[in-house]
Symmetry: C2
Subunit: 326 residues, 2 copies
């Protein structure tokens, strides 16, 4: 129920945290294992639900064993007949859907935080995913939402007080925008895949604690004041220059663009440097904000970086509905 | 023939450059491909010999397909009977040995530069390898060499004039120390595996050009003056703290050690931070220099970082023997 003054939304009764959806993104893998260990030792409460999403890939330190698990959660994929030769991740997606879903049903969890790492210098980000993303349980209820894929950059300074406010405000924005599908992919970088860096691990751990704290406050009836949130909306992807016959890349991200995620890219700015040393410039007509610059896993997807538009969204004040959980 | 004043050594007639020995170390992969492309286009001279060492692993962007190619070049491995089920890399090592060797024979090449990347913040390094390393063609002639494994750190400033002198001086030291086995593994980082970063690629390209230039000058009779070289000699490896039952790591490199390769580590300094937040300090009794800190590929080898002693070696002046090529 929305009002002029703010939004009144259902409580988040069932919350899940997933790590290791990509088995070589190690901050998420080790954080979920640490949380599981703590729960075993402390005989802790049962919330949030903890899921090591792709244990086989984590064991082998691979993104995935056969197919990308993070592309296995469409309704079609989840409901297709299961053959004997189904890839491991297709089987695993059904198992996860049985625990956290079924997707689109009233029994699914209210909130999922999925932990990811990137080789890009993106700091701490929360990503609201496209229709095809797996954790959009209940997406069928999201009609009318004008945002197909949105990304909010919190930045490396989030650990300061003002930035922890940003985390809260973003969670609020996310909740208001997707009132029946509160999900966030938490993306933290830069960290090489197959490596865990203490600073990145600690950023992820602290941000997750903030999100879970926010949910507890919300469920207890705290009223959150409204305010602005900067949002980056995906416009398009840009591939590497490639050799026509071999499809090999023939250039790397230009040194002046490398690590400049969320810094404005203007027409004519350098974007690539070929392996023979020439500079290739951005030939778009609009200044945009690049992100996922030089993400390791996107070479195979044909993405050198993505471009976004920045906008400022005013989030209304928010409190939980006292009468119902959903 | 060595003299009081300096060393007079055989010319380096046959030189090889190898990239992609580890298929996900992309600066080396793309540099060797670029050199091969240039040669095709320019109908260039036949030296140096160019080898894409592990093309299948490079194609799949993996360190290796079945076994680490860089551990397949011992005399035993090269000479054992070849079964039908031999791993791809074992077969590939024989092919490379046929082109650049046979290892230990008079027909082998005089100099090999093998291009590598690391996720560690090691800048540009040249590594003289242990007996087990594959590019020690002619190692049987290296009796009497007191150094089993040696590493020389050139540092990130090598592109300045003084640092290019360092490259030259190190090549000279390497040549004097191993007169019949001139080999270097060029290690450049930090770069995530599966990613190419322009600055790392350019460092590798420029360093390789300097090494090849040095060889041309040496072969033409240039006399190189002697001088000091800082050398880091491996003392030991240090593994991550691990869970006794699962063997999982339970800590990451401490933020105060991360990226501090070749900076002195003193007893009591922080080295790890556990996933629950505790600090673990260095309990050795001797101050040593860490390197390969948080190298991705060494998690499976049980190495969190390696420790070395630093020494200053005086390299004698050097010139090529005018009468023979070897």
């Amino acid at each position: 129920m929305d009002t002029q003054e703010g939004a009144c939304l259902p409580k988040l009764s069932r919350v899940a945290v997933c790590g290791g959806t990509h088995g070589n993104e190690l901050s998420g893998v080790y954080l979920i294992k640490e949380l599981m260990k703590r729960r075993r030792e402390a005989d802790d409460e049962e919330q949030p639900i903890l899921v090591l999403s792709n244990p086989r890939a984590a064991q082998q330190c691979l993104r995935y064993i056969e197919v990308d698990l993070n592309r296995c959660f469409s309704h079609d994929a989840l409901n297709a007949p299961l053959s004997d030769s189904a890839p491991y991740e297709v089987i695993r997606s059904r198992e996860i859907n049985a625990v956290l879903g079924p997707k689109g049903s009233a029994d699914s969890v209210d909130f999922i935080c999925d932990l990811h790492n990137t080789t890009a210098n993106m700091g701490l980000c929360f990503i609201s995913c496209s229709d095809s993303d797996w954790i959009s349980f209940r997406k069928s209820r999201n009609t009318g939402c004008p945002l197909k894929s949105v990304l909010c950059h919190i930045g490396p300074t989030f650990l300061s007080f003002s930035a922890s406010v940003s985390v809260f405000r973003f969670a609020r924005w996310c909740f208001v925008t997707f009132p029946r599908c509160v999900f966030t992919a938490m993306e933290v970088g830069p960290q090489p895949h197959g490596v865990v860096r203490s600073n990145v691990y600690t950023t992820m751990k602290t941000a997750l604690e903030l999100v879970l704290h926010w949910i507890r406050l919300f469920n207890c009836g705290t009223v959150f004041e409204g305010g602005p949130v900067d949002v980056f909306t995906l416009v398009k992807h840009v591939d590497y220059p490639r050799d026509c016959s071999t499809h090999d890349i023939v250039a790397a991200i230009h040194p002046l663009l490398q690590d400049k995620d969320f810094c404005l890219l203007n027409p004519g700015d350098p974007v690539f440097q070929t392996f023979s040393g020439e500079t290739i410039t951005y030939n778009g007509s609009e200044s945009l904000y690049p992100f996922f610059i030089n993400e390791c896993a996107y070479y195979e997807k044909g993405i050198a970086f993505s471009l976004s538009r920045k906008s400022r969204v005013n989030v209304p004040s928010l409190r939980a509905n006292r009468d119902q959980s959903r």
